[in-house]
């Protein structure tokens, strides 16, 4: 393994600009859209990046021995109300190994003890205190406290005993399915970028949502990728112009998970590159493996592709109100490479599982690279990605069984798979 560290004497408001300059200096070129998207994020506030390092991980896989063993599973077609799931949106463990399942379809959180026995329910359908109407996601804290993101009700906080504590309602819906804890706050991905941030960006932001004050979420980082984007501007005369675009099929998207110390890991390129970022969004370290993305094949191009729109406001010479001029932008096409990384999950204390695209797709589960801190631990061959890790070496998997019955399976993981 080779680790290189170099100081980056560039402050904060220009981390992306610095990267563009650096890439130009290294002879790298970006596509037009990527370059524009990068340029557009210059106004995103970010902390000063006093130090940045890159770690190159080995190219060759070292396969990890062992297999995961089932400890228990919950979920059935019929039975007690606590074992029939409707729409599972989120699962998590507390520090004692209790499992929590957010069943959005049933408007509740179900709790199971470490042996898998039913231990209680939190929430019920409604709009009152502690009730769930449109639950999206959930964060479980080590002491058993919960935060449920509910698009209709806001951020609903339950204490360690399961008692409802309070609701936080900032000015926008709690609408995210990718959310992690970060100290007392939350970090989450906002995919509804098209309108809310029209004109300021075409990227995908990570937002920090304060829970103590209830202030509105603020962006701490913005990945220069978006599957749909809106660019809007005004020219010097105040006339508006707007473009809608859809990224080419198989374009990278932002993948996001918990890393250590309240920070997060982010993936948004086609290469095997994982960024470790601080709770404030600052880049701490870049991990990379020299594994090239495979080329898009004809078989990959089965999906249909769409187009785009450009609109311009055209003032009339005689002073009449301006009219809009619309033009189609044609087919978005396909990216020429399939992103290497197709899944990412961290335990919040430095363990990362990074699922790789394998070929032929679907023949088996993905290969999963295990990284602890900045060290490559090894690769698990052909294993499905879990939804959550516990502190005591287990993982929860959300699985669809026969007749589309949802089951939560808890497996004990070999110590080697955890880098221990």
């Amino acid at each position: 393994m080779r680790a290189t560290a170099r100081p980056l004497a560039i402050c904060a408001r220009q981390p992306i600009a610095a990267r563009i300059r650096e890439e130009r200096a290294n002879g790298k070129r970006r596509s037009g859209i990527a370059a524009i998207a990068l340029t557009l994020v210059l106004s995103v506030p970010a902390p000063c990046e006093a130090f940045q390092a890159e770690t190159s991980l080995p190219a060759a896989d070292t396969y990890l021995p062992g297999s995961a063993t089932i400890e228990y599973a919950v979920g059935a077609a019929d039975g007690e109300t606590w074992e029939v799931f409707h729409t599972v949106r989120s699962v998590g463990f507390d520090g004692a190994g209790n499992l929590y399942v957010l069943d959005a379809g049933a408007h509740r959180v179900l709790k199971y003890d470490r042996e898998g026995s039913f231990a209680g329910t939190l929430g019920r359908q409604g709009r009152g205190p502690g009730e769930l109407e449109r639950p999206m996601s959930m964060v479980v804290r080590p002491d058993g406290a919960l935060v449920v993101l509910d698009a209709a009700n806001g951020y609903i906080l339950f204490g360690a005993t399961g008692a409802f504590e309070r609701t936080v309602r900032p000015g926008a819906p709690a609408y995210s399915t990718a959310v992690i804890p970060s100290g007392d706050d939350l970090l989450m991905v906002d995919h509804s970028v098209g309108v809310r941030r029209a004109g300021t960006s075409s990227g995908t932001p990570v937002l920090r949502q304060p829970l103590a004050t209830g202030e509105s979420a603020v962006p701490v980082f913005e990945a220069p990728v978006s599957l749909l984007g809106v660019l809007a501007r005004r020219d010097g005369s105040g006339n508006a112009a707007l473009s809608l675009r859809r990224a080419p099929t198989y374009s990278p998207m932002l993948r996001f998970t918990a890393a250590g110390d309240g920070g997060f890991a982010a993936v948004y390129t086609a290469d095997w590159t994982v960024e470790l970022r601080s709770p404030d969004g600052g880049l701490l370290r870049t991990l990379s493996r020299p594994i090239a993305p495979r080329k898009t094949t004809e078989a990959d191009r089965q999906a249909a592709s769409g187009g785009g729109l450009r609109a311009r406001e055209r003032p009339r010479a005689n002073g009449d109100p301006a009219r809009l001029q619309l033009s189609d932008l044609g087919d978005a096409g396909f990216a020429d490479r399939i992103p290497v990384i197709r899944g990412l999950l961290g335990d919040g204390s430095g363990l990362l599982w990074i699922a790789r695209e394998t070929e032929p797709a679907g023949a088996r589960g993905p290969d999963i690279d295990v990284v602890r801190g900045t060290t490559y631990v090894g690769t698990i061959r052909g294993h499905r990605m879990p939804a959550a890790f516990s502190e005591d070496g287990r993982a929860a998997y959300v699985e669809q069984g026969d007749l589309d019955i949802t089951r939560i399976v808890v497996r004990r993981l070999p110590a080697a798979w955890l880098g221990r």
Partner: protein, 192 residues
């Protein structure tokens, strides 16, 4: 693939701020003072809405209840208040529309792009009997021709319904999707 060409000098923070200020009270814009009267027809969907989504699926020769989920539908005035831009995100992906009104014909043009499944189309809608209605003639891969009717129905302050119907005949209309949206009241960062 297309390339978006914008002069970078126009992408300064100051220029962007005029288009989409961070002030929540300015988030959704206003109609242009010179906008024609019919431009108000889509005013019911301006703002940040969360929605219940219910689809039906065609299985064994019949439409049966299918997936249910949650969506966020946000719409604002853009283009100096001459168009509406809306952003729909649900459990399966995202779609964006730009809606413009033609005063002479009384119709709306809707440019539609969906992320997954990938789709792009230019659609037309017209305000009819208290609904915004979009009718499209379609054909299944097997060659069966049918009519699809999509309608927005304002349902009181801060609420609207979006429905998608398959019209086999005037007497045989099947609703295959329903999205029930309600406005998220902006509470200005108040915890309660």
């Amino acid at each position: 693939m297309f390339v978006v060409v914008l002069p970078l000098s126009a992408c300064t923070a100051a220029a962007q701020e005029r288009v989409a200020p961070d002030d929540p009270s300015e988030r959704f814009g206003t109609p242009h003072p010179d906008a024609p009267e019919g431009f108000e027809q889509y005013a019911f969907m301006i703002g940040d809405f969360t929605c219940d989504v219910a689809y039906k699926e065609f299985r064994d020769g019949a439409w049966i209840p299918g997936a249910e989920g949650t969506a966020r539908w946000t719409a604002r005035y853009v283009m100096n208040g001459r168009a509406i831009l809306d952003d729909f995100v649900d459990d399966w992906g995202q779609a964006v529309n730009v809606r413009t009104y033609d005063e002479e014909s009384g119709t709306w043009s809707i440019h539609y792009i969906r992320e997954r499944p990938e789709e792009a189309a230019l659609l037309e809608a017209r305000w009819t009997d208290g609904q915004m209605v979009m009718v499209t003639e379609k054909e299944t891969p097997g060659g069966f021709k049918y009519t699809e009717r999509v309608a927005f129905t304002p349902a009181g302050p801060g609420r609207y319904l979006w429905t998608q119907e398959v019209v086999y005949s005037p007497e045989n209309v099947i609703e295959i999707a329903r999205i029930d949206c309600e406005l998220v009241p902006a509470t200005g960062g108040q915890a309660r």
